[in-house]
Amino acid sequence: MLTFAARRLILSIPTLLFISFVVFMLLQLAPGDPMAQVPLTVPPEVKEKMRQALGLGEPPLVQYWKWLVQVGWIEPKVFIDWLTRESWLLGWLPDTQLYNGELRVISWQTRSPVMDIVIQRIPQTLWVVGIAYLVAILVALPIGIYSAYRQYSVFDQAGTFVTMVGFSIPPFFTGPLLIVIFSVQLGWFPSIYDTTHVVNDWASFKVQLQQMIMPVMVLAFQITAQLSRYMRASTLDNLNQDYVRTARAKGLSEAVVVMSHVVRNSMIPVVTVIALGIPSIFGGAIITENVFKVNGIGQLLITALFANDLPMVMTLTFIFAVLIVMFNLIADVLYGVLDPRIRYD
């Protein structure tokens, strides 16, 4: 197992390199010019210097190499410094001071390091998307188990219909729909997620809860639909197995048979599906973040794309790719850990 994980980890490096190379070369074809906003009165030689300052004078391969060094070597140094200096997790360690003023990946929009902006945006995305994912898991698993246990019952039929609907209604429709119902007609929740809101007492916590409910509901509805279908299918597979009959034959109660025998076995594929879904949530949340004006990572990507901010787009896409590759690996390893019948070696 350890060798398998190590081999996959090493194999993921060329994969990521290739993906980043392809995306970088794709972005090189971009028609936009970062100097388009500069006034026409600026003389061309000054413009050329500004271009050089943004790192645009070099051939694409050199640019790619520089970007790679910045993301793969300099940014981790900055991150470790930040960890040992300010974070509560490792702040007790002495300041490492690895970073000494090298050029980092600079956003063309704000002329500040891309990673700083990403770090600012991550908490919003994690709060909304992470809680939605948790809610979805907590709702989907019981629904899936029960509708498989009572197959073709009214509950199962209704559950299947609702999951089908959740599958089919896109978030850019459920989002506005919820806004019309709950913030326009009923006036219960705000339609815009206020990220500057600080939670410091009970009242502000209530406000935070109110503004989180709708985006979390939209996201969780979608994820619940997918997860409960997987859970139902996997439980159905296990309910007809011989070991279930054996467990019943030796007189175990239904609760024990289902909860400790069947559920444990049917969780194996579902856990990997959950792990595989985590990165796609970051990508899929682009629309929900856009509808509710959550300024998370997805919204950052959209604004960067429209502003032609190529370093930002490049770095964000790379982060998404890293997440996907990592969680693929985690899913594979989890599968092997949970199911002793699977041997990778």
């Binding site: 794709l26 089908m164 599958f167 850019f172 429709f173 429209f306 693929n328």
Partner: protein, 326 residues
């Protein structure tokens, strides 16, 4: 002595050929019978046919130009508003009302549906072609397998929606100049959706081809000298048709949703060209006063995708010989 043997011996009962009581049934007839009992699939299929016919034939019946501005009759409500509000600004000349520029909503819905369905079908067909081709090549030719499957894994590791957005914003300009604003966007969206969604099909097809090509009938075909191309076309492809059909249904649903999402984010078709996603996105700003402009395209997208999903569900059940006949 010996008994005389009758000239024609009467046939032994057990060895007599039984006349088949029923005419032989083809596989597709069985599938159809199973599918007919799946209520969701029947509903989905008929709704899909209805909406396809509506967007195909509708513009010939309701001959209003969807892009025609009629600023005097702007912001009309749908005709059913008269049921509870007799003062509502509504008229039979615009059954579903008009938008803030006076464009007729019914005509826009029909034209938008045409665009959405066309993108959906074209992207689905293209992605199936790519997926099937790669799946068959990887499954049949052992030399290509490693390379093609690594490519598939690579594509699966790509972040789809960000890449879609990047690709659309990057290639919008050159394609527009060569194929016109609508044509260029259509080509771009269809290709981009297809290129990012063929992987599941390729994996499923490869798995099935790997299993089928070891069967005796393929060996028999090869032993009489059938060429690889003929084996693939005559013997392998008909046998992997059912997983391809199921992924076709799922692919159509994904393609319609992706196109609408792109339009919603404002990177889809040009602004005067209606699609369901664009109508929804345009209406979101005024949804407090005119909720029906969000609801109509939203319900159209959702119902179409729902019916396609139900059809795919029913097809999966009907095409699975283990479930069929139960």
């Amino acid at each position: 002595m010996t008994e005389p043997v009758p000239a024609t011996p009467s046939p032994i009962e057990a060895l007599k050929d039984k006349e088949p009581s029923k005419a032989p049934r083809s596989q597709w007839k069985d599938v159809w019978d199973q599918l007919r009992h799946h209520k969701g699939a029947m509903f989905g299929g008929s709704f899909l046919i209805f909406i396809t016919l509506a967007v195909l034939l509708g513009p010939y019946i309701w001959q209003v130009d969807p892009q025609k501005l009629d600023i005097r009759n702007k912001d009309m409500r749908p005709i059913y508003h008269l049921l509870w509000d007799s003062d509502a600004k509504a008229a039979w000349s615009k059954p579903l009302g008009s938008d803030q520029l006076g464009r007729d909503n019914l005509a826009q819905m029909l034209a938008g549906g045409r665009a959405s369905m066309a993108v959906g079908w074209a992207a689905m067909v293209l992605s199936l072609l790519i997926g099937t081709l790669i799946g068959v090549l990887a499954g049949y030719f052992k030399r290509l397998d490693g390379l093609l499957m690594r490519t598939t894994d690579l594509f699966l590791a790509l972040p789809i929606l960000p890449l879609l957005l990047v690709a659309v914003t990057l290639f919008r300009q050159p394609l527009r100049s060569s194929f016109g604003p609508e044509g260029g966007m259509f080509i771009l969206i269809v290709t981009v959706i297809a290129i990012t969604s063929w992987m599941p099909t390729a994996r499923i097809v490869r798995g099935d081809i790997l299993a089928i090509k070891e069967r005796e009938f393929v060996l028999a075909a090869r032993s009489i000298g059938t060429t690889s191309g003929k084996i693939i076309r005559r013997h392998l492809l008909p046998n992997v048709l059912s997983p391809i059909m199921v992924s076709a249904a799922l692919g159509l649903a994904t393609a319609i949703i992706t196109e609408s999402a792109l339009s919603f984010l404002g990177v889809g078709f040009p602004s005067d060209f209606p699609t369901w996603g664009k109508m929804l996105a345009d209406a979101v700003q005024r949804m407090e006063q005119f909720p029906e402009r969000v609801l109509l395209p939203g319900i159209a997208i959702s119902l179409t995708v729902l019916s396609v999903n139900y059809l795919g569900d029913g097809l999966r059940d009907a095409l699975d010989p283990r479930i069929r006949g139960r």
